[in-house]
Symmetry: C2
Amino acid sequence: STKQKILLLPGDGIGPEIMEQAVRIIDWLKAERGLDVDLSEDLVGGASLAKHDVPIRDEVIAKAKAADAVLFGSVGDPVWKDVPFDRRPEVAILRLRKELNLYANLRPAKLFDPLLSASALKPDVVRGLDLMIVRETVGGIYFGEPRGVETLPDGTKRGVNTEVYTTAEIERVARVAFDLARLRSGRVCSVEKGNVMESGLLWREVITDLHRRDYSDVTLTHMLADNCAMQLVRDPRQFDVMVTGNLFGDLLSDLASMLTGSLGMLPSATLGTPEGTDKQAALYEPIHGSAPDIAGKGIANPLAQILSLAMMLRYSLDRGEDSELIEQAVSNVLASGLRTADIAAAGEARVSTAEMGAAVLKEL
Amino acid sequence: STKQKILLLPGDGIGPEIMEQAVRIIDWLKAERGLDVDLSEDLVGGASLAKHDVPIRDEVIAKAKAADAVLFGSVGDPVWKDVPFDRRPEVAILRLRKELNLYANLRPAKLFDPLLSASALKPDVVRGLDLMIVRETVGGIYFGEPRGVETLPDGTKRGVNTEVYTTAEIERVARVAFDLARLRSGRVCSVEKGNVMESGLLWREVITDLHRRDYSDVTLTHMLADNCAMQLVRDPRQFDVMVTGNLFGDLLSDLASMLTGSLGMLPSATLGTPEGTDKQAALYEPIHGSAPDIAGKGIANPLAQILSLAMMLRYSLDRGEDSELIEQAVSNVLASGLRTADIAAAGEARVSTAEMGAAVLKEL
Ligand SMILES: CC(C)[C@H](C(=O)O)[C@@H](O)C(=O)O
Ligand SMILES: CC(C)[C@H](C(=O)O)[C@@H](O)C(=O)O
């Protein structure tokens, strides 16, 4: 069939609960807006380990490659904390990124005005915050070789990981950042640790050259990663688009998200092009984790998952209007005062995962 | 002579200005409190590059090794941003750490009550904040081999750095953290990225074993570095002593310091034992950088440098009483309302570097 194909991978913890609410919205889009897609679903992470003894099966990778987009929940479960390194739940997301060559992780940190008080930061510091971190996701120390733990002659051990970046890897993710900046404020801040790491120095050089060649209309600045961690706390609104490597991006984007105080609200997209194809591949997921402590209780916030669906509609399915409808519905629901536990202020009433999903549907 | 030897290394930017104020306090201690030390001073960083064409001379390293303690200002100057990698000003501090084997960097993030409003975080989130990050400083990706940038056959480049940690390196810094925890709240949080990096997995294993063997009276928890970046923003007071590797420590300790809103107030100590000796070596420095933008204007805050001196008196010179006198004087000066520009709220009067130094002296 020529129908667009969506693969749902709910994963672990609260993943299945919040995915259920996103699926309700998909069903509504099918019934009311003529969305015509093939949906399929599979296991990843701990859920896959439990049934198939691996964090993700090769056939799920193949399905994901064949899909137009993947809607992902989250992986990770303390039950599996002592499995061998290559069988941990996280391997699912790492393999998906690598094998689909999803090299650019777009992580917006956007403050929703009605949730201003949820932030640990002063309102004057974060009001209106809206930045976008573009994080490289298939290179760097996450995948570099050599890696591993070896036993030394005296019986003690030595652990090694390798940070590697090539010109080509840096350029392609930087292009994503520069292109995005053109649609936003026209500013990119590139972040590395080039005063200590040669790979960071190369990062800075390559981005500086690319900027001079192809993006001189965009304003480019550079910042050391440690200073960036400070500046995100001191004055986060100085940033618009940021671009950085896999490991710094992991820390800095989590930090940036937390500035909003509402992790349960933030979606993300990871985009790329599988090697040997010219097809765009994409995976959409909430930035929050699997939250095993509240899993199964029906209290998780489904909005990040629903907003991840909205991103998918815009970036992978060419349905910008549906995307806006959903974003508007979420915004109305928040304005009406509905809160799941994670975004409720002391004393505010809390609704369940399903009630929040229903409220978005009702708005639609 | 058997006099204790102190080496002053003011460095770049605001380093010399703030060091001058610390020296005034040393002079007072000599005159009034019977402090009897040999002081010498030398160049590091950009200042050394300008005069000697290297960021630090071997003879300065030798002097530092021979000293009982080093009081360091800060290094780094945009003038030198295009020098070859091995000649950048930062090499001075990196070589000092490595050659004196200063493996444990103690970075307190402590909120001074009169400066509560300087924080970007809500008062209720940071009031009373007092945590200590113990950062490994002679290993990890800062020093691991192979490293460097190579040119590929097609003319593009490849940058590499290597994260390496051995059992011995992890154990010795963890001991510092556990020992400190015994003097504080009895809690240590160890931070790594063991879900992605084998070196992080080894880090967690070694600390878990050491804890079981020698420190079972201390409470040990583990946290992933990305989550830690979030938790430091969400609820920093959950932490007491934290221990982590060189690179994570660089970002997380800068982040933690910024929570206080008053970088200009925070001292640090880096402790170790030069190879082949059983002597304690130590370097004391403000956590803030060289702040080239305000250098030479006489407006920098000298208190972090003065409090670094106080740490030196306690940890290296066995003069706890003098140390307390200084800390009390600083605290009184703050309580009296004196503020340099960096810690002044809008509308508050600002004193100069020299006026702040004089005020501390007057209190003494
Ligand atoms: C689950 C984990 C492997 C992952 C990462 O470190 O990349 C996560 O923290 C993220 O940021 O998506
Ligand atoms: C100056 C620089 C090399 C240094 C580091 O990265 O260690 C600094 O940021 C620090 O934290 O002391």
